[in-house]
């Protein structure tokens, strides 16, 4: 555990706005922010995972999306557009005096194109959370991550330790490349989630020159 206090280099003091917890702010010494996406299908445990690692209570923000409606009976010949609100949960992790990591939970639906462009931009990579009992639900998620050119690792979120799935079965079912890391984790556990993230970042390091 890094318990070294984060010092404000300039020694500036700021007045905290009324009603705001001063702990919400990033240290003035932080010069770099990094972003990693935590991706997965509905209810796979993205927010739980982020909550286990985040130093702040996970925050929720909304993005309004224009998406093609599923109706095909449009007489004008153009796809109907509907506006949908997508919730994004994210957390923050101060990793050193000058570096903060943001973890963004990102829904794995193909239809949220704009959202994905926004999320993928500047992301170091993606951790794909997988439920071993619902492997097929992860296919479109993996497709999407690959489509946006993001490097990734798989974290098998096993709530039930008695239901262990062999790594080979999961690799085969998800059609993974041999060097794609597959980690087991319990998204409710900080250390276990931290190890899954480390496996991803180690993999990312092998992919940059």
């Amino acid at each position: 555990m890094d318990s070294k206090p984060v010092m404000d280099e300039r020694g500036t003091t700021r007045s905290t706005p009324a009603g705001r917890n001063p702990g919400i702010y990033v240290s003035d010494a932080v010069t770099t922010t990094a972003k990693i996406l935590v991706v997965g299908h509905f209810a796979v445990g993205k927010t739980t995972f982020i909550g286990s690692l985040s130093e702040i209570t996970p925050l929720r923000t909304e993005e309004k999306m224009t998406e093609a409606s599923t109706q095909v009976d449009d007489l004008r010949g153009a796809p109907d557009k509907v506006t949908t609100t997508v919730a994004l949960d994210f957390g923050r992790l101060t990793l050193s005096d000058d570096l903060v990591l943001y973890l963004f939970g990102t829904p794995g639906q193909q239809r949220f194109m704009q959202l994905w462009e926004d999320m993928a931009r500047g992301a170091l990579g993606a951790l794909i959370l997988v439920d071993p009992a619902r492997l097929a639900d992860s296919f479109p998620v993996i497709d999407l991550v690959e489509k946006y050119g993001l490097e990734y690792a798989i974290a098998v979120n096993s709530f039930d330790p008695s239901a262990q799935f062999a790594q080979e079965e999961i690799r085969e079912a998800l059609d993974l490349l041999p060097d794609t890391p597959v980690e087991y984790c319990d998204a409710r556990d900080q250390r276990s989630s931290g190890h899954a993230l480390i496996a991803l970042v180690r993999h990312l390091l092998t992919r940059v020159s």
Partner: protein, 124 residues
Amino acid sequence: MTRPDEEAAVTGHFVRSYVITGGRRLPEADELSLHTLVTLAPDAELPLGASPEVREIWELCAGGYLAVAEVSAHLGLPVGVARLLLTDLFEQGHLLRRAAPPRAQLVDRETIEKVLHGLQTRYG
């Protein structure tokens, strides 16, 4: 993003966003990414006639650095709307930004090494 001429489902929420932004097109993510840090510039003075939302951003950002996504979440504004208002304040010189990632989707080795080191120190 929804343009005013589109037939979007008009909900109360939608109308609120539309009023806050004056119906302007929302800026591209390139300009202020979700994890860019922003804070109020020293000696910045609240523009006359600032909207309630701008006042809220002003007050929040006076306290220190926060990522664009955090400003959006703390104030309950959709990301696109928060980004537009922050972009305005930035262009008017009221806001400082830091740690803006490169525009190109470049992942630099040094940052990854620092992230790995930080995670290993905590959980390794």
